[in-house]
Every structure is written in C-alpha cells, then in structure tokens.
Amino acid sequence: MQLHRVGWSEDNRVTPLLFIISVATLSFIGGFVGSLLGLGGGIIVVPVLTLLMHIDIRLTIGASIVSVIATSSGAAAAYVRDHLANIRVAMFLELGTASGAITGAYLAGIIQPRWLYILFGVVLSYSAVAMYRGRHTAKRHVVPGPLARRLRLASSYYDDAANGEIVYQPVRPGLGLVLMYIAGAASGLLGIGSGALKVPAMDLAMELPIKVSTATSNFMIGVTAAASAGIYFSRGQIDPFIAAPVAIGVLAGAFVGSHTLGRIDSHAIRAIFVVVLLIVAAEMLFKGVRW
C-alpha cells in the first residue's frame, strides 16, 4: 500500500507568501534555541522543512547550513561584545574542527555511516549523563598545564543571572583540540551540526562555564559551516526561496536569544542542553539501528 502524504509545498491552500511567513516564524524558534545552546538551529529547521513542508532533502540540507551560519553570526555579535564567547578558545579549537572537517569529507566514502551513527549516539548519550551529573559534584582543582598557560585562555564575563563577574581558567586544551577534531570529522561525515559535540567537549574536558561553552560553540560553528555552504551553493542545493525565510527567522531568533542567555540561570541552560542532547542521541541511535 502506498501512503501518500500531502506536504505543505504541494498543498493547494498554501501560497508562496504563506510559505515564507510560516517558515520564517518556525525558524525564529530554531534561531532562539540554537543561539542559547550553541547548536545552530538545524534541530528545528530540518524537521520543519522535511516533515512539515516536505522539501527535498538536498535543499533542506542547504537551508540548514544557512541557518547554522545565521545563528552563529547573529548571536556571536552579542556574545563577543559581552565576553560570553572566548575568542582565543574559539580560534585555537577551530584548528581541530577545520582539519577534522577535511578528514571527515575524505572518510565519507570509506566508513559505513551506520556504525558512526551508533557510535556517536552512544557518545552523545554518555555526554548527556556526564553533563547532567555536572562536573561540580566532584570539584577538584585542576592546575592548568603549560599549554593552557601559554595559550592565555583565562577570561571572565559578567553573569546577569548570578549578578557577578565569573572568572574562569580553561584546562586541558590539548584534549579539547582532539575532541574538536573528532567533532569536525563527525560533522563532515554525518552532516550533523557539530555543536552537539562541541559543547560537551568544552564543558567536560576544558571545564568552561556552561554559558561560555554554548556561546563559544555558537561563535565557532559558522566558520566550518561557511566552507560547506560554499560547496552546497555550487551544487545548486541552496534555493533562495527556502533559504531566505530561514535566514530571516533564524537571525531574528538568534538576536533575541543572544540577548537572553546572560539572564538565564546556568543550571537551567545545562538542563535544557542535556534534554536536547538526549533527543539528538536517540535520533542518531535510531538512524543507526534502522539503517
């Protein structure tokens, strides 16, 4: 039996104008959530376009990469100014994501995605549990090593929710770099937004405050996405009529989100991030098992 579902783009009642308005409105939510969690908005934009609008998956990927860039640039403008994003941490770790992305693109034809989905599903589930427990339960003083000191990564930001200046010293930058390389390779291989891997790496390995992790992830994701976007553009996967409302909605959402993050309690951000991470992990495990 063939089940034919009528998507929005084929529905006779939906005019191009209504399409633009609805996609922009739903993308606003993607930009808002993405900018708070450092994820890039794809988690909302992809299901909206594929499941609700029945857009071709190739064009959905093109629109999703535009949404990552829009979230990143839109939110980072505020995060850099407010010191929530740590520029040095970002620049150093981009060495890992950029080289990982190249490796990932090369391995794409060699490795079976099925096992990668399962592997990263497990890794993300573990990260979610570890982040939920919170590293603060085992408060040890990790002395920053010579690399961490040489990179001068320490910084501070004013936390509106806690009403005070938060001073922090990132540790284990070497481990962070290796994890970013893996995150970059995973996004190259699976086409997933690597924010889901970047934030746990910064949180668990480098012990950054959670808001600094999500804001710095936001700052970073646009750079790797820009290289992919250029490739998708030349392959004709960026349809302006789909990408335009996504970009407009996501930018507006990211603007509001980036001016909200400072005022939200850190524990709340951590809790929301853990829930979203579990959903992404479950989705990957499902894809891997069903492959």
């Binding site: 783009s9 084929e10 939906v14 005019t15 191009p16 104008l17 399409f19 633009i20 071709d56 190739r58 064009l59 535009v66 860039i69 829009a70 640039s73 839109g74 980072a76 403008a77 505020a78 850099v80 100014r81 010191h83 520029i87 040095r88 620049m91 981009e94 060495l95 950029a98 190249i102 693109a105 003083h141 002395v143 920053p144 000191r149 040489r150 001068r152 320490a154 910084s155 001073v167 010293q169 750079v223 996405a225 820009a226 290289a227 992919s228 250029g230 490739i231 553009f233 030349s234 392959r235 004709g236 996967q237 960026i238 349809d239 302006p240 009529f241 335009a244 970009a247 407009i248 930018l251």
Partner: protein, 136 residues
C-alpha cells in the same frame, strides 16, 4: 590547595567590539539585501500572493535560481528577485570567513604572533576544505 591563576587578561575591548561590529555589519547587510530581493520577487510575481501551484515549482531543485557567483551577479543586474536574495545569502555565508580573515589583522595589530599564526592556519584549512569539496 590553592591554585595560582596565571596573569592573563581578556582581549582588549576594541578587539571584541571590532569583531562584533564586523559580524553585525555582515548580518545586517545580508539580511537587508535578502528582504529587498524577496520584495522584488513578489513585486514581479503578484500571483505569489495567492497562486497555488507556484510554490511547488519554487521549492524544488532546479534552474530557477543561480548556483554560481557569476550567475547570481548577472541576475542581480537584470533585477531578478531570486538572484538578489542569493546575493544576500552569499554575503551571509562569506561573513564568518571574513571574520577569520579580519581576526588575523586584529591579532597582528595586537602583536599577538601566536594567535595570528593559529588564525592563518584556520583560514588556510577552510580554503583547502572548500577547494577539495568543490572539485569533488
């Protein structure tokens, strides 16, 4: 145990503000052009306000939009709405790359050789991944 924090200051204010302004400028410029392009599209195709079958055509992969910079620019000169939108999207895509390039200059002005080198390597890796991907 007392850990002594190494003396380390955050970036000077002007660095943050310069990078923030570059991102903000890129975003505002691109989104303005995208909105103008959408306006032109709807002005040329009044039927998009109520036409039903047009949406299917607009949201399918095809020839109705440009996929190279030359095509996009040619379309902009011909005042084609879709091409104007694409120009805005291309500026949005170029903004993070512009941010990395601009950061190299900022670090050089600050005499921060280590981060100027780190950022240059990142830019080269980005260009490499684009070239490798585009020639696939």
């Amino acid at each position: 145990m007392v850990t002594v924090e190494p003396a380390s200051r955050p970036e000077p204010r002007w660095v943050d503000i310069a990078i923030s302004n570059l991102l903000r400028g890129g975003v505002i410029l691109s989104i303005t052009i995208v909105i103008i392009g959408l306006g032109v599209t709807f002005a040329h195709h009044r039927d998009y306000f109520q036409s039903r079958p047009a949406l299917g055509e607009l949201t399918r992969p095809g020839e109705h939009y440009p996929s190279s910079v030359q095509d996009a620019l040619r379309g902009v000169l011909a005042l084609r709405g879709q091409s104007i939108v694409m120009l805005g999207l291309l500026i949005l895509i170029a903004t993070p790359v512009g941010r990395v390039t601009f950061s190299i200059v900022v670090f050089l002005i600050e005499h921060d050789r280590m981060y100027a080198i780190v950022t240059t390597v990142v830019l080269l890796l980005l260009l490499l991944s684009f070239v490798l991907g585009a020639t696939e």
